[in-house]
């Protein structure tokens, strides 16, 4: 029902293409935030929002996932980090590579972020 009405409303929002002017149109109606009914159906039983230690673990999981996606072998050189788009690691490479190995592991990256403080890694 809601969808039908929005389309009708949208029909009114078409501007003319007068000389020297562009033409604009709204193809739909504003619903934000909204998700399609099929998504509503499966989203009803959502896991609990993470907070505290669970949120910290989630931050670490996300950082690890992105690191490992760029480093299938588990280690990254500065050049490999840059090529994979992990410019943050390339930029802070010397500080992250405390072992002076010329390549860094996720544990090095994690330790750098944790020791710098202010974030969500414990």
């Amino acid at each position: 029902m809601r969808r039908i009405l929005f389309v009708l409303v949208a029909g009114a929002f078409v501007s003319g293409a007068a000389q020297g002017q562009g033409r604009a149109v709204a193809e739909g109606g504003m619903r934000d935030p909204w998700v399609p009914p099929a998504v509503q159906e499966v989203a009803r039983e959502m896991p609990k929002a993470k907070r505290g230690e669970d949120l910290e673990a989630e931050v670490e999981r996300k950082l690890r996932a992105d690191f490992m996606a760029a480093a299938p072998g588990g280690e990254l050189t500065r050049e490999a980090a840059q090529a994979a788009g992990l410019g943050f690691i390339a930029r802070h490479f010397e500080a992250i590579d405390r072992r002076g190995a010329g390549s860094v592991r996720f544990e090095d990256y994690r330790a750098f972020l944790r020791d710098r403080g202010g974030g969500f890694l414990k």
């Binding site: 929005f6 929002f13 501007s15 604009a24 039983e45 896991p47 931050v59 788009g85 410019g87």
Partner: protein
């Protein structure tokens, strides 16, 4: 080149063509000379450097400013599927549509006027349209729909920001993001991606946020989660219409809303959880009476639908009157909650104005039609981090881990029952207390900047935010 917002549309190739105009405006007692650049930039894949999407943007840059100290802010609306037209022509650009929310008692369609609250004195401003909106389109082999997911949309926005910074030599400029509604969902993911890519941000502005979709009861139907996050917005609305008991004293709205927040979490939410449990417990009559007094909505309404969603409040507060969704202060005589008088009051003015502004004032000529809002939302992939709807608080926490000095300003409107301010406060509370995360709520709706008084306050808060962020 004719741009299309169709899901399967794809440009065979793209060129970075712009139209440049010189303009000036009076702002804060000074004359600002600025350059407007309207056109396209090609977002390149982060690792591959392959062309991915041709982004349409309008950039306002102050003439003669030193790039190293001059901030640049990227603005975008939400939807998903919306172009940046609302922020571009309604908020802090050099010109704005004189909407005069909530009464809208000026000329209609709204005239475009010089904006005394423009942020151009503080930052360069770049308004950018999502892929498949405005004149932005995917480049083959991608199609628009390639970028219609939480993650791919944020990734291609990252690629646009990096391209803008590289092409315009803004490597040393302090950078800010300014997103509205779904644009805040995008910002949380985008901030993480930019920090990770090594393009650090100085600050982000989250306006009318939806950080965790699952914490907004009205996004789901049937409603299975507590609507307690809406209760303070109902209270603000009831007070606006002078239907609450007792009515807050003059200047006493903050204290009144503090009480509404306490009621929502301490009294209402526990009762609603028992009501939603199996077996359900009948609504506590004392809580029902308290809810009615606090929000102005009749006891019978609360009895009939104890976990009351915003559509019911909008229809039932004043019999025969429908309240707006984006701004409850805007009303019409009855009608279904599927209508939003606060949207219909502004929509046609913005659609008409953006065409005339781009083609006339900015002399950007194209045979294409500028699409202010596509139907991308119908097929958008909302999944993120293994959840079917996004919770981007962990993305924000990750961005803050990569950049603990990132400044965050969160703005909401008291009369917005799309992204209620208390829900946003509760999402942010998951980050703990942080001095670099600040919340500002305004006497306005979802687009609180359309309210003249709110926009003046918001400009002052933004100027203060930028000042502190740049220290």
């Amino acid at each position: 080149m004719v741009y299309s917002t169709a899901a399967t549309a794809s440009l065979p190739t793209a060129a970075e063509i712009t139209t440049v105009t010189r303009q000036s405006m009076a702002l804060g007692g000074a004359t600002l000379n600025y350059t407007v650049t309207a056109g396209h930039l090609t977002a390149l894949g982060l690792a591959t450097q392959a062309p991915r999407a041709s982004f349409f943007y309008v950039a306002y840059t102050l003439d003669g400013a030193a790039p190293a100290s001059r901030p640049v802010t990227f603005f975008y609306n939400g939807g998903p599927g919306s172009a940046s037209v609302w922020l571009h022509l309604g908020s802090f650009g050099p010109r704005r549509l004189d909407a005069r929310a909530p009464l809208h008692n000026g000329p209609n369609p709204f005239p475009l006027v010089e904006n005394a609250e423009s942020l151009l004195d503080v930052s360069d401003l770049v308004f950018v349209d999502a892929v498949g909106s405005g004149y932005s389109q995917a480049i083959a082999p991608n199609v628009n729909r390639t970028f219609w997911s939480v993650d791919s949309d944020a990734e291609v926005f990252r690629d646009f920001v990096m391209r803008y910074v590289a092409v315009n030599q803004r490597d040393s400029s302090p950078r800010f993001l300014f997103g509205e509604s779904y644009g805040t969902t995008r910002t949380a993911v985008l901030a993480r991606l930019l920090e990770q890519a090594g393009l650090g941000l100085r600050g982000i502005v989250l306006l009318s946020s939806v950080l965790d979709y699952s914490n907004n009861c009205a996004v789901m139907f049937p409603i299975t989660s507590s609507c307690q996050g809406y209760v303070p917005s109902y209270a603000a609305t009831g007070a606006w219409f002078q239907r609450v008991t007792p009515q807050p004293a003059e200047g006493g709205l903050d204290e009144f809303l503090a009480g509404a927040r306490r009621f929502a979490t301490e009294r209402f939410d526990p009762a609603v959880r028992r009501f939603l449990a199996t077996p359900p417990e009948a609504p506590d009559p004392v809580v029902v009476a308290e809810a009615a007094a606090l929000t102005g909505l009749a006891v019978t309404s609360w009895q009939a639908q104890f976990n009351l969603p915003p559509d019911a409040y909008r229809v039932q507060l004043i019999p025969g009157t429908l309240l707006g969704r984006y701004d409850t202060r805007v009303t019409q005589g009855g009608g279904s909650a599927s209508n939003d008088p606060s949207s219909s009051a502004i929509g046609s003015s913005f659609v008409a104005a953006i065409g005339a502004y781009l083609g006339g004032t900015l002399r950007y000529t194209t045979p294409s039609t500028y699409v202010t809002l596509s139907n991308a939302i119908e097929v958008w992939d909302f999944s993120h981090d293994g959840r079917v709807v996004p919770d981007t608080v962990p993305d924000l926490a990750t961005a803050l881990t990569l950049n603990p000095r990132l400044q965050v300003l969160v703005a909401s409107g008291h009369y917005d029952v799309a992204t209620p301010f208390f829900t946003t406060e509760q999402d942010l509370a998951r980050l703990g207390t942080r001095s670099n995360v600040q919340v500002r709520n305004y006497a306005g709706g979802h687009m609180m900047y359309l309210d003249d008084a709110a926009r003046v306050r918001q400009k002052a808060d933004l100027a203060d935010f930028y000042r502190r962020s740049l220290q």
